[in-house]
Amino acid sequence: MLVLKRKAGESLIIADNIEIKIIEVVDGRVKIGIEAPKSVSVMRKEVIEEISSENKAASGTKNIDKESLKKLLKK
């Protein structure tokens, strides 16, 4: 992994058209501004991981009690 040191107000440019700017650093929290084309998706990593783990939990469904489920919601 490439590691660079930056101060508040400084930026990084990735591949010509993505700018990552350090806006503020307070008490161990960093505020980051990202400018990128709309086609580039930017996500918090923990969100991706949480969704991935929900998908895995969903796929683990075994022997569900169909009768209770049928009562739960009508189609």
Partner: protein
């Protein structure tokens, strides 16, 4: 073609029913081809992977959240080549734990299917909707 599944047994599927997830599903990036299996008399459906044996329950989120609203990002519209709203099917992943009162669906990350060309993707919305939306007996309140 025929596929063998542990959960549904051997099932016969038509090539034309195959839904293509170019990017797979989060956590299951390797599986790109799925079919939808309906559960009779119930709100559940399953996304069954064609190339591996696993399936994911999903549902129509509007059944438990009638004011569910989402604006599809331009990127999704162009990627899935969506031309008309009526061609879009929205489903959300359902987690059914052994304790059924914990049943929940992921409203933050719906599955968007273009029913015309069968292209699909699980997209991620902002956090206005939860990843874990519990709906056990919500309707009865």
């Amino acid at each position: 073609m025929k596929i063998s599944t542990e959960y549904f047994g051997d099932i016969e599927i038509n090539e034309s029913d195959i839904i293509n997830f170019e990017h797979g599903l989060l956590g299951f990036e390797a599986c790109k081809r799925f079919v939808i299996i309906s559960e009779p008399e119930m709100f559940l459906e399953y996304l069954q992977c064609v190339d591996e044996d696993f399936s994911i329950p999903m549902m129509n989120p509007f059944l438990v959240k009638s004011d569910y609203e989402l604006e599809l990002p331009e990127k999704t519209l162009s990627e899935l080549e969506i031309k008309e709203e009526k061609d879009v099917l929205i489903r959300t992943v359902v987690v059914i734990p052994e304790d059924i009162t914990q049943i929940r669906t992921n409203l933050q990350s719906p599955i968007v299917i273009n029913t015309q060309n069968k292209n699909a993707r699980q997209i991620i919305l902002d956090d206005s909707y939860p990843i874990r939306y519990s709906f056990y007996k919500k309707e009865e309140v």
